[in-house]
């Protein structure tokens, strides 16, 4: 399985985007691979916005898990729970 990681530009992030992605990767199976640039072959794209403005350009036609600051799909969580919630979203697919 291939997961896309798409960051916003990081002008003033209120969460640690890189740490979140690292925590998500630690919980995903070893056979998952990651792509940062070309999302054509990705099954899911994790879009990681640093704040709730969510200005990252979202790849079209893809299954998206949207992190926007301390929120996922609009629901707010403590920052240390975000990775678990991303995994929940991913597992439900």
């Amino acid at each position: 399985m291939k997961i896309g990681i798409k960051y916003c530009g990081g002008c003033n992030p209120v969460i640690n985007r890189k740490r979140l992605v690292k925590q998500v990767m630690q919980q995903l199976p070893d056979d998952v691979s990651y792509e940062y640039f070309d999302f054509n072959d990705c099954d899911v794209v994790l879009v990681v916005n640093g704040c709730s403005i969510a200005c990252a350009e979202v790849p079209s036609g893809k299954d998206i898990i949207m992190v926007a600051g301390p929120t996922i799909d609009g629901w707010e969580y403590p920052e240390d729970k975000l990775a678990d919630k991303v995994i929940e979203k991913w597992s439900a697919r």
């Binding site: 798409k6 960051y7 530009g9 990081g10 002008c11 003033n12 640039f37 200005c55 350009e57």
Partner: protein
């Protein structure tokens, strides 16, 4: 696009004639006084390859359709103008200092737009030249210094009446293949480590100033071009590490006087020559583009300063004091106000006749005007919270000394849970970020405060505001429909 290392390697190929501290500097790249500024500029190259930042750092050229570093982009939309502001804040947060490349970026957008309008009036071909030049910069990912500020001599006299005619850059000879230029551009941020300079006039001109109404571009290692690198406050600390405060990226951008001693400019690199009525437009375009930036790059730099100040409160054990919290709130309030006006200048930007986008002039001028005040006030609060020890800290050599080092660490200890060295490092960062060169740059960069106030008054449309007041009071005047 170039990586940071490729950018640094490309600088080694240049033969820029640069002087500093009484000598010609042959190896600019490894010179300790200049290297921090090179490291900062190199980061702007690397960010275009970093997935965490490329959403802002990379743009698509309107001229070639290729992916380019955003610092070479001609603004194509409101979204571009907002991204500009966000990108600059992101870099400021990583470097804590000026990264220099926005000046040339704004110069390219100014020349791109004004050359188009000159062509429309006179049938010249400046715009095609400007497009070719921008394409060259984009495809080679070059760093351009925007050359606007002339030495200006007697500020009460126009260029042609100066006792020394070279105090504004001017054309001294016209040849079949180009022009010969003489004069200088002052305060040129990043010039020591740029590839090119893009020159624009600096004040509005009348027909008598025709020879001064010139815009052109040159490689900085062109024969006849020389640079004299400026001193900074505390710059001998660059010979060490800890005492610099920000040892990797330095303070401000590294400024130089760029002198043109009868340098030759081929016609294909001339974008204005003699069209005095367009000089004011070019000055205003550049100033407005550049003033928007100050609420972006400085916001990022001040984010670092606020963080450092809050840490100092922790290290000093005063975090819970209500007046400390209140002062930090004040710092945040001022910083976010500045960034908000920079963003507003982008969201309210408009398309120019050439097609590129241009910031809202009032919001851009408000941004810069606030910087000239708020940056000083924020630094004052940082000093207030941090304490006087940043002005009296012993040197890093004393810290390394086996006799004095342990004593310094003992007596500069604050909160017992924090190593004294952390407190000293943070103090040095705050000291260097809040004094001398960095504050003067905030005052005068992109134009001195009065220049913004003139534009604010001009754009305020007071006559309309008077009519509004009269209408509300029922005083006889033309009623609004």
């Amino acid at each position: 696009m170039k990586t940071g290392q490729e950018y640094i390697d490309s600088l080694r190929q240049l033969k820029t004639e640069l002087y500093f501290m009484g000598e010609r500097i042959e190896n600019i790249v490894d010179n300790p006084y200049i290297r921090p500024h090179i490291n900062t500029a190199a980061l702007t190259y690397d960010m275009a390859f970093d997935p965490e930042f490329m959403d802002l750092a990379v743009a698509t050229s309107n001229l070639t359709g290729e992916k380019i570093n955003r610092f070479t982009h001609i603004q194509q939309s409101k979204d571009d103008m907002v991204k500009k502001s966000k990108f600059l804040r992101a870099i400021g947060q990583k470097t804590g200092t000026c990264f220099q490349r926005c000046v040339g970026w704004d110069a390219m957008n100014s020349v791109y737009s004004v050359s188009f309008e000159i062509d429309k009036k006179y049938g010249t071909n400046y715009h095609a030249r400007a497009c070719d030049y921008v394409k060259y910069i984009q495809q080679n990912d070059l760093m351009v210094v925007g050359g606007m500020t002339d030495p200006k001599g007697d500020r009460g006299l126009p260029p042609h009446k100066q006792p020394d005619p070279d105090l504004f850059v001017h054309v001294v000879e016209t040849r079949e293949d180009g022009i010969i230029v003489r004069g200088a551009k002052a305060h040129q941020t990043g010039a020591a480590n740029s590839h090119e300079i893009l020159v624009m006039p600096t004040v509005a001109m009348k027909p008598e100033d025709k020879e001064y109404a010139v815009s052109f571009a040159l490689p900085l290692d062109t024969p006849g071009v020389m640079l004299i690198f400026g001193r900074q406050t505390n710059d001998e600390r660059k010979l060490g590490t800890l005492d610099q405060g920000n040892p990797t990226y330095g303070v401000v951008g590294g400024e130089a006087l760029v002198v043109f001693n009868d340098a030759f400019v081929p016609w294909e690199r001339v974008f204005m020559f003699g069209e005095t009525e367009f000089v004011g437009m070019m000055v205003e375009r550049f100033a407005t583009y550049h003033r928007q930036n100050y609420g972006a790059c400085k916001a990022g730099v001040i984010d670092v300063l606020i963080g450092a100040t809050a840490l100092m409160a922790d290290y000093n054990g005063v975090t819970k004091a209500s007046h400390i919290k209140d002062k930090i709130i004040e710092m945040v309030l001022m910083n976010e106000t500045m960034h908000a006006s920079s963003l507003a200048a982008g969201y309210e930007s408009r398309a120019l006749p050439a097609g590129n986008y241009y910031p809202h002039t009032t919001y851009a001028n408000i941004t810069k005007q606030n910087i000239t005040r708020y940056h000083y006030e924020i630094c004052r609060l940082a000093h207030d919270i941090t304490g006087g020890f940043i002005a009296t800290l012993p040197s890093e050599k004393d810290l390394e000394d086996p006799v004095t080092g342990p004593i310094i660490k003992k007596y500069f200890q604050g909160n017992a849970n924090v190593p004294a060295m952390d407190r000293i490092k943070m103090g040095r960062l705050i000291e260097n970020a809040t004094g001398g060169t960095s504050l003067v740059e905030s005052m005068h960069g992109a134009g001195s405060p009065q220049a913004q106030r003139v534009m604010l008054l001009r754009d305020a449309n007071l006559e309309r505001l008077k009519e509004l007041a009269k209408n509300v009071c029922g005083i006889d005047c033309e009623k609004e429909e």
